[in-house]
């Protein structure tokens, strides 16, 4: 289990990195935290000829909040997100999701941009990005930038819209509203494992206590996390009572087109969705009452 040979590149600016990507195209891979990539390289499942290390591009690292938009540099580690007071205050579901990623040492080096670019369907960030309609900022060689919503960015298992010569530079999340309830409920066999099924929800109520907005997302039921648009729309103006939760949970478990594997058959995934949606909505509702 040793990686095959590659040429190592250590650009110190984004332009430099983009130029290298342009030069080597599909033969190159970007390495950020490398917590998935290096494992794959050790197994020789990935054998890039050129490895472009973006760890020395400081502009890619950092957390800011402007105009109720939380902006996280792609190179920011899971641990930095987990420990950020700014994140905790503006978008606490990110703090919670970060705590579920891998293990303590993995969180120190793994990055949010790396995780999103890798697009593992059982990973936390792609799912949370889809839940919150995060915006991906992507740099191109031309010096241009393009931005893309998470649902367009993440296309399938390990597949994103990122072209070989592009770099994901920043992810923006709209801050949660005041009194917005939220919950992230992953189910895994062991602590730190990729989830088998996960549910994430955000809920806001209007002044009369009816639902103003629901965001509900399932992981582990498709090749990417899925938003339950119809349920979200149908919930508007509904009273967030136990009945509603039960109905949503029942409806949600019919969503998606999951597969059988040795951790979960289709029916079990649906059973888990029902349990986790119930838990998530109860927690999210509680969150709306914190006021």
């Amino acid at each position: 289990m040793k990686p095959s040979p590659f040429t190592y590149h250590d650009p110190h600016s984004l332009d430099e990195a983009l130029a290298l990507l342009n030069q080597y195209g599909e033969e190159a891979r970007i390495i950020a935290g490398g917590q998935s990539l290096v494992a794959m390289m050790n197994l020789r499942l990935a054998q890039p000829d050129h490895l472009i290390d973006i760890n020395n591009i400081p502009v890619l690292n950092g957390i800011e909040c402007q105009d109720r938009l939380l902006q996280i540099g792609a190179l920011t580690s899971h641990q930095d997100i987990l420990q950020s007071e700014l994140v905790r205050q503006s978008c606490p579901i990110l703090t919670n999701a970060a705590a579920h990623i891998g293990h303590y040492a993995i969180r120190q080096r793994g990055t949010i941009g790396g995780s999103l670019s890798h697009a593992d369907p059982a990973a936390e960030w792609p799912m949370i990005a889809i839940l919150l309609d995060g915006e991906m900022e992507i740099a191109q060689l031309s010096g241009e930038k393009r931005t893309l919503g998470a649902r367009d960015f993440i296309q399938s298992i390990y597949t994103t819209d990122l072209a070989p010569e592009e770099i994901l530079t920043k992810i923006s999340f709209p801050c949660l509203e005041e009194n917005e309830g939220w919950a992230f409920k992953p189910f895994a066999r062991r602590r730190g494992d990729y989830f088998i099924v996960a549910v994430a929800a955000c809920l806001t109520l209007d002044q009369s206590g009816r639902i103003k907005r629901l965001r509900l997302c399932l992981g582990g039921m498709e090749a990417t996390a899925i938003r339950l648009d119809e349920i979200e729309q149908g919930s508007i103006a509904h009273l967030p009572d136990e009945n509603w939760i039960r109905e949503v949970a029942k409806a949600a478990c019919n969503e998606g087109n999951p597969v059988d594997d040795h951790n979960a058959d289709v029916e079990y995934r649906r059973e888990l969705v029902e349990i986790l949606v119930t838990d998530a909505l109860q927690d999210a509702f509680k969150g709306t009452q914190r006021g």
Partner: protein
């Protein structure tokens, strides 16, 4: 493939190494620098035996290429006891509580928990177990490791009290 020369700072000392860029930090620390306390257990980031501190943070040295660690300070198990060979409190407690058997996972556990306790001085048992969950141990069932960590915390509190009472 061509080798590259660069300098690594390990346990406060600079080492010149000449290795291929693909060489893993774990292998360079062990084979080129000769510090064999860092153990290699899985080479895909799961077992935690190879954990070292890079800039004070516990990281899997099997998931980092040595060349990536140029200019950063690396700390390995050999640097945890002081220069007289006296154990850190955590090492002492692992010794007293029988928190190791074969000892192969131990260096990774010591470094992970040293760093963890520094940033979380008063964790619950659940938090200790969560932090430890990235280090596999086949011998102990973890119970005595958890106990040792708890005693380390208690010892820290006692020392704080002593300082406060001075």
């Amino acid at each position: 493939m061509s080798k590259t020369a660069f300098r690594l700072n390990v346990n406060g000392q600079d080492y010149e190494v000449l290795v291929e860029p693909r060489k893993l930090l774990s292998d360079v620390i062990r084979d080129d620098i000769g510090l064999t306390g860092t153990h290699v257990g899985c080479e895909h980031g799961v077992c935690g035996a190879c954990t070292v501190l890079i800039e004070g943070k516990p990281q899997r040295s099997c998931l980092v290429f040595a060349i990536q660690a140029r200019g950063q300070s690396i700390r390995t198990i050999e640097d945890v006891a002081d220069e007289n060979g006296d154990y850190s409190t955590l090492q002492q407690m692992l010794h007293e509580e029988h928190g190791l058997q074969c000892g192969f996972c131990t260096p990774g556990i010591v470094l992970t928990m040293e760093a963890f306790l520094k940033s979380n001085p008063d964790p619950s048992e659940e938090e200790i177990r969560e932090a430890l969950s990235g280090n596999l141990c086949r011998c102990t069932g973890y119970q005595n490791i958890v106990k040792a960590v708890q005693k380390t915390i208690l010892r820290g509190h006692e020392e704080d009290k002593e300082i406060a009472s001075l």
